[in-house]
Every structure is written in structure tokens, then in C-alpha cells.
Homo-oligomer: 395 residues x 2
Amino acid sequence: MLFEFQNPTRLIFGAGVLKRLGKLTRAHGKRAMIVTGGGSIKRNGTYDRAIASLGAAGVTHVECTGVEPNPRITTVLHGAQMARDEKCDVIIALGGGSVMDAAKVMAAAVYYDGDPWDMIYHGQAAPHVPTRALPLITVPTLAATGSEMNAGAVITNEKTTVKSYVIADVMYPRVALVDPELTLTVPKDQTAYGVCDLITHVTESYFNGQDGTPLQDRFAEGVILTAMEWGPKAVANGNDLEARAQVQWASVVALNGWVQAGVEGGYPVHMIEHVISAHHDIAHGAGLAIVNPAWMRFAAKHRPARFVQFAQRIFGLQPKHAEDMECALSGIDKFEAFLRAIGCPTKLSEMKIGDALLQRYAQDTLRVTPDEKGRLPARPPMNEKDIVEILRSAL
Amino acid sequence: MLFEFQNPTRLIFGAGVLKRLGKLTRAHGKRAMIVTGGGSIKRNGTYDRAIASLGAAGVTHVECTGVEPNPRITTVLHGAQMARDEKCDVIIALGGGSVMDAAKVMAAAVYYDGDPWDMIYHGQAAPHVPTRALPLITVPTLAATGSEMNAGAVITNEKTTVKSYVIADVMYPRVALVDPELTLTVPKDQTAYGVCDLITHVTESYFNGQDGTPLQDRFAEGVILTAMEWGPKAVANGNDLEARAQVQWASVVALNGWVQAGVEGGYPVHMIEHVISAHHDIAHGAGLAIVNPAWMRFAAKHRPARFVQFAQRIFGLQPKHAEDMECALSGIDKFEAFLRAIGCPTKLSEMKIGDALLQRYAQDTLRVTPDEKGRLPARPPMNEKDIVEILRSAL
């Protein structure tokens, strides 16, 4: 292990903490741009409570609303322009992963006169690395992405249908205000997709990271076991605040770097899914539920012992030996069954996606951040044929 | 769960990272005070390598050496005076937990004209909360305390024989430079005490924290299992760099707040041990190995289910029911046997400590940070009689 870790975000977690938004924001600015998505936060009162808290603390605001589920670079451009025009000195992201991701890139784009797409990794072109950003406060309304406490964002270029990411230290939120009460009204399907999303965050590093990280393995398994224990309760009864809190805490930890520190590794399932959702605008968590088990069956052939460990520690299966492929595949079957049980799709056909564009998906996936041989970084690295094979098995 | 978490320290981990000390220090200052303990870093070349790295980066230095195993407040005063006199603008702690703890309080004492003991919690007196400190870089030479990546320090007042702590945000190190190579020469006994120390850091919150923290439970169990897997290898072969690295990573995580976030709870085993080592100047990790199993047997009576979980998840024992005391006690026996197997003492008599002062230890323990009823905060809270009972069982 040879690595660096630093995450400066101040996390404030617990039911009811939304009421602290105003004072916390005031410590970073006087005029806020609130970034929001659709109308659910207006209907359930969250938005009004946020505004009231800001007003009571003497913070004025403008709203940048309408961020899409797969947020677009034109939306980022629009938001950055609004923040400049309105002379905002702090940005609040009030919504799900899309809203938080868009808000992060807006915060950086305020200080960048070029095309904000320059900041997003895409192909061989060297991106512009953001070096400055407005202070950002994240208030997630969905337990899923972990975006509230990390420095990453995923943005779609609707012209080129490329969905890709940026990671930059200046995009760490100053404060992540995580209030599980805000997730009580999330519908069953979105709750399930969130559970899948958070589990996939840790399976990526668990299966693709370097060898010799036993503590991080335990942490990843802890996140998965907790999500599998409490996720179904949150899906079954959306008003179960305890279940909502446990799932949300797991979602924060799943991608705030604690599990990934020293592990590294690619995010092949995410990279493939990004292409699917860029083409078909499906929910990210649903796409992951389809791609992940299919990818796992492919990867298990190359690294059976690791998948045996997963089967053993997550599902209590007993392998006959350290590379028992039958045990490894049983673990993946059980994982897929879990995803189905909470209501996730696990086949492309369930999303009405056929085999017409499989090669195109694979080619698009390989365009984003290929390794030196043009392959998708992962264990094992994958070429176009591999990705097509995985997606075909998920039809 | 209702909590806050923020740890701004930049962690740089891996064999060989010591060579980066100079440049990293230069980013925070031009003139460093290096705080050190005994002579081992001089004998094994670590000190010379550190100095060479500083010199190459244009950082001048003075050395504040001789920090004791249980660092004293007079040593802190001396170091703070030296830093002021020598106009140092950055402090480097190069040593074990004692050195790092002393350096932290020195860094804060530089900006405090009063008695630095005012900063340490002791009894009812309101301490002076440090609000400013010189930038600090920690370079641990021992895997044990986790002090390298947190904001706490433990200091002894040799006049009053009180050993107590301070936690203040300004004492977070700017950089924790964690190089497992520096621990290769740590002798077997100190290696074992370090393993015990790090495990005890997580057992404290695991057994004394609030209910309803399943993810943190898994994290704590992950630290314990990793330390129990790799600790014996590091004890058996000090030159096993892989084992040294795994143990040291576990020691960082055991007390950097990741396991404790949202859990809270007292540190009763530490509080009792501090008194023992303040009176008898024994190694902290050795004292913990004696107090922890004795305390666990006491606490298990009040919270059997939690100790059953420990027995089950750490040692694979199968309870007959959720509160199976026999299973709970077997788990504690196995934990004590593990400590003995790596070479830790588990009885006071092994340290030549008798029963003459048991009441005094209990009274001293209760003087530091008692609850509103004068008890030691823990699950269950303890009075003088309880503490005497625990220590008597450890004779």
C-alpha cells in the first residue's frame, strides 16, 4: 500500500439537521445559489424549510432549478452563469446525486471562462483541472451516490452522448448536511436503486483494487452487509427513519474514500453503466443493477478467490477450496437475487434495451479513460469484445 | 445517530515516504522544531534521514529531544518555550505516541501564555480550549496510538500524578507521514503492546458506544480482525514489511475517527490504565492488556448481547441465544489468550503491581472526567467500588 488520503468535508449527520442550514451557510457566504432538481422537494416541504433556515440566518438566495437525473453540461454552464450574474458567494446543492454533481461543477465553472466540458475527463484530451471553486454545501435528499462527501462529479455531454467524471480537491463540499428525514418520501424504486448504487461503489474497489488490503476488504464488506440488512427495511417501509438513517450512513461511507483508501482500482461497472444511461436516460442505480452481476460473472473467471471471499463473507457460503468457482458463482447469484428482491431490474430487456447498440456502448465506454492499450481499466482490463460479451449476458 | 465528523489531516502512507518529509514540511514553514523521544531513531538512521530530507528542502531545524514514554507537562512547557525561542514555524513529531502527543500540546502551548496544564482535562476545572497551534507534521515510528491522524493527546502531570487528555481541532496534524519501514526495528514487546493499544481503541467505542450503529460495528470488527491476523506476524518477524504495514494501517484507522463516528461512548479502559501508568510508568499498551479483559468480564454482565456479538464475529463462536453469557465469556477468554500469545501481560502482578493502591487508582480515575453522578462514563457507568473490583480481578 502506497497512497494518500485527505477528505476535508465537515459531515453533519442526523435526523433534523436541515434546520442548521442557514447558520452553516452564513459561515461561508451571504448570498446562496440553491441548486435543485425536480419538484419533489417543493411538494414535501423540504425546500421551504431550507429557505426559511437561510432567511432566518440572513442569507439571501437565488434558485437554479431543473437539474436532470443525468445532469448535462449545458445545465452546468447555465448554473455557473447564474451564480456569476447573481453574485452568489456560496452554492447549496439540495437534491440527489445529479443535483450535487452538477452543483460541484458549477462551483468550479464560476472561476473558469472556458467550456466547462474541459473539466470533465473524456478520451485522450487533457482536461482542465479545476483549481478554484465557490464554497459548496451539500444537502442530499436521496441515499445513493455519496457525492455529498467527496470531490467527484459525473456529467453528461448531451451533444456527444458522453457521460464522464471529474475529481478535483476544490470540489470537496465544505459541509455535508445529511438529514435522513429528507429521504423518508423517496419512492420504493429510487430507494432500491440507491441501495444498489451504494453497494456498487464498494464492490468496484473490492473487486478491482490491488491485492493486500485486508482492512479495506472488511470495511467494504461492512458497507455491503449493512446495506443488505437495512436496505430492504427502507424499501419495505419508507417511513422507517432508523432504516433510512442506516442506509444513508452506508451511502456516505461507501464513497467518501474510507473504503477506497489505498485500494485504487477502476470503476468498470460505472463506466459501462454511464454509457447505457447516457444513451437511454435510465436511473443510474437501475443500470448498475443490470451491469454489475453480469460483469461479476465475467470477472470471477479471472479472479475466483476474490469472488469466493465475497460469497463466503457476505452470504456465508462454504467454498470447497479457495478458488471454488461454483461457490463464487453462487455468491453472485445470491447478490443478483438480493437486487431483484428489493425491486431492481437485472436485465437490459426490463428497461426495453435490446442488442442493437451493444458495440456502440462498448466503443463509447472505451473512449472515456482507456488504459495504455486502449482497454477499460479493471481486473481484468477489458476490450470491446469483453464489454459486448458482458452486456449480451445481461440482455 | 446524530453526530459531526471532520478530520482534515492529509495522510501519506507507504514504505519509503519518509523521504518526502522535507518538501512536505517546507509547504508549512522554514524552520522546524523536531520533537523526539529516546535514542532509537538516532541508532537506526531514521533521524539522519529525516534531517537530510529537511536540509535538502531548505528547512532549518532544532531538536527537542527526550520526550518520556508517558510525556510530562513540564516537557511540553520546555518544548513550547524552545519553539518560541528558536522562532520555529512548524513542528515535526518523529517518534511514537508520546512524542506525537507532546508535540501536539507544544504546538498549541506556543500560543498560550498560561500554564499548559490548563489545556488538559482534569476534574471539574474548565480547561483552556486551544484555539491556535503551530502547524504539525507527524511521523510515527510505532504502530499503536493513532495519534498521527487525530486531534487528541494524553499528558501526565508528574506533580499530581494525573494523566489525562486534550482534544482540540487545532491539534489535527496538517500531514501524517506514515512510513511502515520506520517500524521494522520496533522490538517484539513494543510491537505487541501497539497491537493491543490499537485493538483497545476500537473495543472502547464498540462496547461503550450507543446502540444502533451496525456499520461502525463492522468497521470496528474489521480493525480487530485485521490486527489479530497481522499483529502476530509482525511480532514473529519484525522485518515482515507487509505485516508492519497492515498493522500500522489498522492503527491509523483505529483512532482517526472513522470507527468512532456517530458512536461516541466513554474510554473507561483507557481512563483506568492512565492512572496505572501514571503511578507506575508502565507501557500504555501493556497496561491496556491487563485492564481490558478484566473490564470486559465486568461489563459483559451488564450487556451480554454485545459481548456475544464480539465472540461470534471475532472468534466464530456459536451462541445458544443472543444473551448467552457462556459464549460471551469464552470470547473474552479467547481475546485474553490472544494478548498473551503475542506477549502482552494480562495481570497486574506481571508488572509487579500489587493491591496496595487499588482504591487510590479508582479515586484517581474518577477525578478526571466523571459524569454528573461522579462515576466513570462507560456502559455501565462505574463507581469506585466497581473499579476496585475490576482491578482486583486483574491482580
